[in-house]
Amino acid sequence: MTTATLLTALGAFLASAVEMVEALTIVLGVGVVRGWRSTLIGVGAATVVLTGLIAVFGAALGSIPIGDLRFVVGALLLVFGLQWLRKAILRSSGYKALHDEEEAFREERAAAAAAGDERRAGVDWYSFTVSFKGVLLEGLEVVFIVISFGAGQGRYGPAIAGAAVAVLLVLVAGILVRGPLERVPENTIKFVVGLMLTSFGCFWAAEGAGVDWPGDELSLLGIIAFFGLVSYAFVRALRQRRTGEPVPA
């Protein structure tokens, strides 16, 4: 197993886990307050739509030349990863509030309790639509992550495996705790995910543009280290700017 394969699986795992925790928070918030039947029907419907999308787009990807695909997904991954990294750095340096899953869960629960009781075909419409939208949107992000990681490497196995393990783990955790997963250090995970998405995006987009990296896939480690150090320096610089005092090493 190569370094790139391992990093692909790990990247897809972490990124997918963050998205699934967000979906789980929505589903649990609605399910606990409004009941599980309609909520789970919404989850099931979203899963069916997602499966259909994967079947359609997954097959279409096979006919695109790998170089062009690497360039496009690399660029997308790079822009996408920079968003994550930017938010994580702003949170770490105190310029943005930490994303609190418990607070999100409370808000979701309060909104669910305040909503009216509209039923169609015996299904609580609020529970259905909220869980459907939550799972579909977060699931789409997981699909995008898998496609990006898989297409960049030229094979989807490691990315699918990483995402599948993440989905299963979050699902099992959700069943076991039946509450928000606030113990997951979300910003730390988002930092690592942002770092990996940015690094992979940089590597594949440049490769798709026709550039040869020295040491080929091994240079990925160098890119990750570079962006890791740069991000660490940015966090320190921003903290110093916010407090007006030098940050101790």
């Binding site: 822009v79 968003q83 550039v211 890119i223 570079f226 962006f227 740069v230 940015f234 916010r242």
Partner: protein, 63 residues
């Protein structure tokens, strides 16, 4: 029309996010990389683009 707008908005937020200048900076970096064919150019450009976006966000938060 409403659905089309929501659809476009979703993908814009999903891909471009809070700061369109980061996406534009990446596009410039990739264009230069493709034109000059050098591997070492993209990482520092991305770092500069990220720093610019962070600095703007910090300045906005401070005011």
């Amino acid at each position: 029309m409403k659905y089309l707008r929501s659809f476009v908005l979703f993908w814009w937020n999903f891909i471009v996010g809070d700061d369109w200048r980061m996406a534009a900076g990446v596009a410039v970096g990739l264009t230069l990389t493709a034109a000059l064919q050098v591997w070492w150019l993209l990482p520092p450009i991305v770092a500069v683009v990220l720093f610019g976006s962070l600095w703007r966000a910090a300045r906005t938060a401070a005011t």
